[in-house]
Symmetry: C2
């Protein structure tokens, strides 16, 4: 014979739930196919219907005046009579009130909890369970918990409730839980990193090129365009201007996206979008950044294009030839036009301005 | 007087370190500017030089025959004589061997630990500390720990060692630690989600449009292009073809990227790149997907462009007008050409094919 300590949750009002603790007698019948009554379903270790009853369990409670009579009771041991012979729930049930979590609803029937203050897991987890019972009753779908790294002690108990990771940044972890019995349609995490390469052509027909100190080009002697990673929240034109300034000290103005490349599995499992941008220089004197660069210079465009490396590597060959074509003024890339989207946030639309006007 | 229990780590060979536990007597002198000797530096709660001595501590050990004599000793209390009056290290030092972690070096002087098997934190943390001492001596920089969600119990102890989150996917958390005393140059997490909108024009001059069941367009009556999110590892052409097939059952061929838009803070703190793709239909009969769509149809392009919504919203107005211009055949977008980059991975370069050829 095996007793399982378990809970039933009942809704009182918007702010409180009642937890009825009980011990359930389970008769273990050996069977090859049926899982052990204490085993946990895959990916949902603890927020299963065994411990956190869905709406069906709420219906179950409706037939019991014993439970209804306990609504106003606070932490008082309940009757020891068994609830149902069939369920074999026995003696040690007791009832207590549990506070619900403060949460915000999103536009997709989801719930967002932003944790800020430290809280003990023995307080937080009962409130989380009770809140999920309520949200389930309300037909809510995804539950998001944003947990600052300072509250790392809550990660394990929340995962044990059946939550999974969604994404993380240096200072927080986002955990999610899908309530309904329908397939999980929670949106995926960010999938791409974005880079820029800058084609800066001066009025002498020279291109700004650099030799790198580290990475794949270290020691190859290859002269390449200044490149860098677009920061979170940064526009492509700003990123290309910033990278050129950081690496060479040259002040520039953004002109066009000449081409872009998408590649996969470039950073762990993430993909990469890389934009070749044409910039017009506003200054001429190079101030090389020493950390990443061995050298930087203005180089005649033909010399840049005709480097053996560019001839031998298809991607570099095309990029160099596109730059050369653009230098002859007979290539149209995508310009960037600021537009106001519905949200009012600043955004840029990139398109072939020459063909469109 | 205050005693601090602390550790010193000594390298034996590539696989083992010796930990010398000792108590350090600290005389607390009140000072407004100097931090408390037990206070922890910001962002580095525990892997400070107080507890995990850098290479300077290794030099310190070289002068001590007492320590050298202990190399072959296993969990035996060491001499109780103090090591140095100046250091005021006293009585209770003892020495034990600690296994080092299995790890892989990356191309950027970094260390990658992929955890797979369960391990108790009381075993793991001493090995991690010892390994970091060794990597510090070797001049290593970033330490990456990839921790499956099943090993969630290690998250808190690893964070307490000074690691921070880098990123997370549903089934794992990536933690990082920067060893040197130089600024942290670890690469950032993926920053963008990527979406596609499909402009599918048939030979009757009609465009494939849909009405959505949910989201911001629900109930607006607006006919819009089929849209969707690019999956991790998916090419833009494949994503646009897939989305049109999923939503409308229409088989298509990718032609060009007509325009794209970058926006920020569209999904938590992440940015968004959205590509308007022109596709040529290979079939005509629509099979509407019911989950996301209220309706789908072929619509004369003028009717699509002239919808009041498109006139009123700048971004939509431009996109519609670009599509209309393209329908008249006098607009050149970016075509996608497969190129072989150095890594040998398949990748696409997108550029103005008409101007380049």
């Amino acid at each position: 014979m095996l007793y399982i300590n378990s809970n039933i949750w009942l809704n009182i009002n918007d702010k409180q739930m009642i937890r009825i603790r009980y011990r359930k007698l389970v008769v273990l019948l050996p069977s090859k196919n049926s899982p052990s009554p204490v085993s946990l379903p895959p990916n949902r270790p603890r927020l299963s219907t065994t411990q956190l009853p869905p709406s069906s369990c709420h219906g179950f409670s409706k037939g019991s005046s014993h439970f209804k009579a306990s609504f106003s009771t606070r932490k008082i041991p309940a009757s020891t009579s068994s609830l149902s012979m069939k369920e074999q729930i026995e003696a040690e049930s007791r009832v207590e009130h549990v506070g619900l979590l403060n949460a915000v609803e999103d536009l997709y029937e989801g719930i967002v909890i932003e944790m800020k203050e430290p809280v003990d897991s023995t307080e937080f987890i009962p409130s989380l369970r009770a809140s999920i019972v309520k949200w389930r009753q309300q037909g809510k779908k995804g539950v998001w918990i944003k947990l600052p790294i300072g509250l790392v002690s809550l990660v394990e108990p929340i995962v044990q409730e059946g939550f999974r990771y969604h994404h993380a940044e240096p200072d927080y972890l986002m955990l999610v839980y899908w309530i309904p019995d329908t397939p999980d349609t929670l949106p995926e995490n960010a999938s791409h990193r974005v880079g820029v390469g800058a084609f800066v052509l001066n009025s002498n027909g020279e291109v700004l090129v650099v030799k790198e100190n580290s990475g794949g080009f270290k020691g190859t002697g290859v002269w390449k365009l200044p490149t860098g990673v677009v920061n979170e929240g940064e526009d492509i034109p700003s990123a290309s201007i910033r990278e050129v300034m950081e690496e060479t000290g040259i002040d520039t103005e953004f002109m066009e996206v000449l081409a872009f490349r998408q590649s996969h599995r470039s950073f762990f499992s993430k993909s990469d979008l890389f934009f070749i941008c044409m910039l017009r220089p506003r200054s001429f004197d190079i101030q090389k950044q020493d950390l990443e660069l061995e050298a930087a210079q203005w180089m005649p465009i033909e010399d840049y294009v005709n480097q053996p490396y560019n001839k031998e590597h298809q991607l570099f060959k095309y990029v160099a030839e596109i730059c050369k074509t653009k230098a002859k003024m007979d290539y149209s890339g995508f310009s960037a036009m600021p537009v106001a989207p519905d949200s009012g946030k600043e955004t840029y639309l990139y398109f072939n301005n020459r063909d469109f006007n």
